[in-house]
Structures are given as structure tokens and as C-alpha cells.
């Protein structure tokens, strides 16, 4: 593939433009379903687009005495990470041959970037509330990354390869016992990675007045919100690719429908959890992820190794 | 749980006995409210009696500018008996000075600051007498809750 083609793919489809638009639409679905749960109307379809557009016409205020360069660059870290991750993921989904050895590991690292960007931005803000939010985000990250790696291990063991393309070509792990258990653990990790209730303590609005993003305004804030929306779209796609991969790539146009259904199911579960659970404390979340979730993921790995 | 015995005569007698001649007046407004008038210079010992010996809890201190002078009332809660004993002192409006009880009962620190800034009662021996509610640049000698001031009842 020529450099120009790759560049266009990065900018348009399935990179920046596609992921951003899909992410904002997913964010609207989230807000609309939340509104329906609360028996009200909710925002119009394009509202998330209006919100992001509005952030880009606002002034960017920089806190005095903070680490200014880091403050302004932090949003780009996450933004670049999720864009690249989406690009790699969709290229593999559309053409299982377009993968490379280790792309799964690259994906895991890229999907770490949004959280890292938020943490760096929070500590560059020179604000005590942002520091508290940042430290909570760090603790949360340490908590959920462990079971997440174990969860990703299950389809790898079942397919016998670490190339995303091979995983997509192998039969869908969700049908097996170990795959189902790993998917369950993966959903918990998904909720935490998206910083959604019950794991939204870094950005607790009522407690921390905005927490990690308290000092951000204007374009950097818009980028953070956009990154969050793109993660809301990309992470369920990642889980679908891992656990329903075989189904998605096998049957032509039908497979697209199956993939969409699986993705919708995951997103709906996320929204329902977000609207019905209370916020956990950091120590409760860490205990939850290092306890039941890790045990479940470990069990799934052992079962996958045994062939179940 | 049985209803709290409203100020069992035991405790009230004990207070009255300890105050002795310093008790100027004692009135019982209701089963749970007793008002005891004491002279300003006995305030410190009366507070030590209530806080250290009887074990009462200082609820709040209130102040009123009346015709007789500036009344300062100390409301002590006897939680076990379920009632409140109020010590009332009156100081002269021309020179309102009282001993601070913050040394005996630290809870009185802030409320004495408030009474000082709003009524002008000088609390001798207060560890940190500065504005609490009013702005730091509030004009000196301007006590908003004194009678005759604009905006005061």
C-alpha cells in the first residue's frame, strides 16, 4: 500500500473521520437511552457534534504555573492512540490478511493511551482536585489492566496465534465456556476503561467538580471529549473482534449484521450499567478487579488452555 | 428506650449547689429548658463546671442587644437528660468585656469571634480574635447587630 493511501485511510476511513463520527453517534445513543431510562426526551441526534464543535470556538485557558507544554499535548496522546487503534482494528476486520505479527499487542498499548493522556493532563493542571482525579485514574488503570490482559489471552490461546487476522479467522470464542467467562470479565474491564459509572470516580462531577479535566477548556477539552466518544465506539468493536471474530468475518454481509448486533448488545449493556449502578470508591474498584474479575479471567485462561 | 428524664433534679441541684451565691436567678421555661443568670466575672468557672465536671456539650452561644445591656447566652446541652441549661450574662453596652471560654471549651472559639464582630463584645484571652463572617476590611467599630444600626432589628 502506498504511503498516500495509508495516509488517506488514516484520515478518512477507517481512521480519524470515520471513528470520530461513529464515536459521536455512539455517544448520542448513550445519551438518548439514558434519557429514555429517565423518562424524558433527550438531546437531538447531532447534539454531540454540536458539543465538540462548540469546544473548538472557545478560548483555551492555560493554568498559571502548570506544565504548559504537557498540558496542551496530553489530549493529543489519547486522540492519536484511539485513532491508530481504530485504524488497525478496522483494517483487520475488513481484510483478515491485512494484519501483522504483534498487532494485538500494539492494539492493547494504543488503547492504553487515552487513560495515560488523561493522567498526564490531570497532573499538568496544577490543581489539587485534578491531582486527586489523576491519582484515582492511575489506581483504576492498574486495577483493570491486569484482568484485561488475561481476558485478551483467552482468544489468543483458542486461536493459537497472536495475529489479529488469525483470531478473526478462528471460530468465535464466545461460544465456548472459557470465552463466555472471559467476555464477562471483559465487560467489567470495558466499563472501567471507559470511565463510566460505577467506575467514574476520577471524573466525579459532584465530588471533584470535573476531576481530571477541571482546568481544561476550549480545543484541548474538545479533544478529550472526542477521544472519550471514540473509545466508546472502538472498545466494544475490539471486544466484538476478539470474541465474535469468527462470526463477523465468515458470512459476507450477514456477518456485518451479526457484528453490529453484538456491538449493540455490548453498548446497551454499558449504558444500562451506567444508569443503574452507584459510583464505587477507588479501593472498592481495585478490590473488585484484583479479586473476582481477575479470578474469573484466570479461570477462563485455565479452561481455554485445557481446551474448554 | 425510656423517655429521657428531663433534667432530673439531681443534676440541677448539683449545678445550683456548685454555683452557690453566684446564681442570680434561675427559671424553668419548660421541662427541657432552664435559664440561669450569672454575673460576667463568674463565667469562666461556670463554663468549667458545665464542660469538665457535668460533662455537658456547648451547643451554641448567642448574643442579643437589649435595653439592659448586651446579653450573652451560653447554651449547654445535657444529652443524657435530654434538656438544655442556658447561662445568661449581661454586660454593659458602653464597655462590653467578657472572659473568653475558648481555653475551657475549644468549641466556643468561632462563635465568640462571631459575637465579637457582630455585637462588639470583647472576649479577653481569646486565642484568635479576628473576623469570621464579615469581610476583613470591615470598618472598625461598626457592629451590625447593635440596636439602632440600619438593618438591625
Amino acid at each position: 500500500m502506498s504511503g498516500a493511501e495509508i495516509f488517506l485511510e488514516f484520515l478518512l476511513f477507517p481512521g480519524l473521520l470515520f471513528t470520530a463520527a461513529a464515536g459521536l453517534l455512539t455517544s448520542w445513543v448513550d445519551r438518548k437511552v439514558t434519557a429514555m431510562v429517565q423518562m424524558r426526551v433527550g438531546p437531538p441526534l447531532l447534539q454531540p457534534f454540536y458539543d465538540i464543535r462548540k469546544y473548538f470556538i472557545k478560548e483555551t485557558c492555560v493554568p498559571q504555573g502548570g506544565a504548559i507544554e504537557l498540558f496542551l499535548l496530553a489530549p493529543l496522546i489519547g486522540f492519536a492512540g484511539v485513532t491508530l487503534a481504530s485504524l488497525i482494528l478496522w483494517r483487520a476486520l475488513l481484510d483478515t490478511e491485512a494484519t501483522f505479527i504483534g498487532d494485538l499487542i500494539v492494539l492493547i498499548y494504543l488503547l492504553l493511551m487515552p487513560a495515560v493522556g488523561v493522567i498526564l493532563g490531570a497532573f499538568a493542571s496544577r490543581n489539587p482536585l485534578a491531582s486527586i482525579g489523576g491519582s484515582r485514574e492511575v489506581k483504576l488503570m492498574i486495577a483493570y489492566e491486569l484482568p484485561l490482559v488475561l481476558v485478551v489471552l483467552v482468544p489468543v490461546i483458542q486461536a493459537g496465534s497472536i495475529r489479529l487476522g488469525d483470531l478473526l479467522a478462528a471460530p468465535a470464542p464466545a461460544g465456548t465456556l472459557s470465552g463466555a467467562l472471559a467476555l464477562l470479565a471483559g465487560i467489567a474491564c470495558l466499563q472501567a476503561k471507559l470511565t463510566l459509572v460505577p467506575f467514574d470516580m476520577p471524573e466525579a462531577e459532584t465530588e471533584l467538580a470535573g476531576g481530571v479535566l477541571i482546568e481544561y477548556s476550549g480545543a484541548p477539552l474538545g479533544l478529550f471529549k472526542l477521544t472519550r466518544a471514540m473509545m466508546l465506539f472502538t472498545l466494544p468493536v475490539f471486544l466484538v473482534a476478539l470474541f465474535f471474530g469468527g462470526l463477523v468475518t465468515a458470512h459476507g454481509w450477514m456477518s456485518g449484521l451479526i457484528g453490529l448486533l453484538a456491538w449493540l448488545l455490548l453498548v446497551a449493556l454499558t449504558i444500562v450499567l451506567r444508569n443503574t449502578t452507584p459510583r464505587l470508591r477507588t479501593d472498592q474498584a481495585v478490590r473488585f478487579f484484583w479479586g473476582p474479575v481477575s479470578v474469573l479471567a484466570l479461570l477462563a485462561v485455565v479452561l481455554a488452555w485445557a481446551g474448554w | 428506650m425510656n423517655a429521657p428524664e428531663a433534667l432530673g433534679t439531681g443534676t440541677l441541684d448539683r449545678i445550683r449547689g456548685a454555683l452557690g451565691d453566684h446564681l442570680l436567678a434561675c427559671s424553668r421555661k419548660s421541662a427541657q429548658r432552664v435559664y440561669i443568670d450569672i454575673p460576667p466575672d463568674y463565667l469562666g468557672e461556670a463554663s468549667a463546671l458545665m464542660f469538665d465536671e457535668i460533662g455537658a456539650r456547648l451547643q451554641i452561644v448567642t448574643g442579643v442587644d437589649t435595653a439592659a445591656g448586651i446579653e450573652v447566652l451560653y447554651h449547654w446541652a445535657l444529652d443524657r437528660e435530654g434538656c438544655v441549661v442556658t447561662f445568661r450574662t449581661v454586660v454593659d453596652r458602653a464597655e462590653p468585656v467578657l472572659d473568653s471560654i475558648a481555653g475551657v471549651c475549644p468549641a466556643a472559639e468561632w462563635i465568640e469571634r462571631e459575637i465579637w464582630e457582630l455585637l462588639g463584645v470583647d472576649f479577653r484571652g481569646h486565642p484568635d480574635l479576628r473576623h469570621l463572617l464579615l469581610d476583613d476590611h470591615w470598618p472598625q467599630g461598626d457592629y451590625p447587630l447593635r440596636r439602632g444600626k440600619e438593618g438591625a432589628p
Binding site: V41, P43, R53, K58, E59, E205, I214 | H137, G151
Partner: protein
């Protein structure tokens, strides 16, 4: 209608500041933000940080101490923003005007774009006021007053006497 105004009025983040208020207006503002009145369908959401805000809702009489905080908050607000005063107190002080801690109407030292009178105004009145502000901005009758005023000076020292 300019692009900036169109963009701003379609998505308003609201930040609420109660400056020595009796809190009745604050309760009514909270009511207006509940699912029953559903302000989200207009694109209005409540935010916790002034840096995320497009509309600053003021309530209360703003005594001398609150005045310092209000000016500090306005220094932190990213332009363009609107300042909307809820209730009668920010306008005239109403029944608290003769009180010893009444300083001066905040309209004297910050540019206020709209007043929503009432004591307290019902959520319907608050919504109606916000809609009128949005329509006024879009028709060009109103312009965010923060743009003409400079950034407020730091209020680190108050005047010596209660003005």
C-alpha cells in the same frame, strides 16, 4: 447569524454560582435541571468546572466576600460566555437590600447578559428566560457582553470601606 453564535447557542454548558443566596433560586435551578423539565433536549447541561462553562448562572445578593469569588471565577471563564442572573436578588437585592451585608448589585461590576426575575422564578420561567436569550442571540438583538469587556482585574484587595 454568525457561526460562533450559532455554535454556542446549540450547546450550552451551565455553571451555577450562588453568591450569599437564600438558596430558593438555587433549588429552582436544580429543579430546572431535573429530568422533569429536561433541559438536555435544548443542548443545555450542567458542568462542575467554570472552565467547561458557557453560561454562568448567578443567584443571590453577592456580599463583599462573594464579590471577590465572582470576579475570580469570571477571570477563569473561557470566552465567549454569558452571564445570566436568576431571581430578583442579583438585580436589586429585593428584601435584603437594607441588610448590613448588602454590598452592591453585581450588575455594577460584571456585565450581565440577562436577568430572569422572580422570587424564586419557577423552572418554567427559567427555561423561558434561557430560550429568550438564545433567540435574542440568534436574531442578533443580543451579543455576549463578555466580548466587549476586558477580563476583570484580580480582586485581591477590596476597598477599605463598605461602598
Amino acid at each position: 447569524m454568525s457561526y460562533a453564535i450559532n455554535t454556542l447557542t446549540r450547546s450550552l454548558n451551565v455553571f451555577h454560582l450562588a453568591g450569599s443566596a437564600c438558596n430558593n433560586c438555587d433549588i429552582e435551578i436544580l429543579d430546572a435541571l431535573t429530568p422533569r423539565y429536561d433541559l438536555e433536549r435544548f443542548g443545555i447541561t450542567l458542568v462542575g468546572s467554570i472552565r467547561h462553562a458557557d453560561v454562568l448562572l448567578l443567584s443571590g445578593i453577592f456580599n463583599r466576600k462573594a464579590r471577590v469569588r465572582l470576579l475570580e471565577l469570571l477571570r477563569q471563564a473561557p470566552k465567549p460566555y454569558l452571564v445570566v442572573a436568576i431571581g430578583g436578588c442579583p438585580a436589586t437585592g429585593l428584601l435584603f437590600r437594607e441588610s448590613y451585608n448588602f454590598d452592591r448589585p453585581p450588575g455594577d461590576y460584571v456585565p450581565i447578559d440577562a436577568f430572569i426575575p422572580g422570587c424564586p422564578p419557577k423552572p418554567e420561567a427559567i427555561i423561558s428566560g434561557m430560550v429568550r436569550v438564545i433567540e435574542g442571540l440568534r436574531s442578533g438583538a443580543l451579543a455576549p457582553r463578555c466580548m466587549e469587556a476586558g477580563r476583570p482585574a484580580p480582586a485581591s484587595a477590596l476597598p477599605e470601606t463598605a461602598a
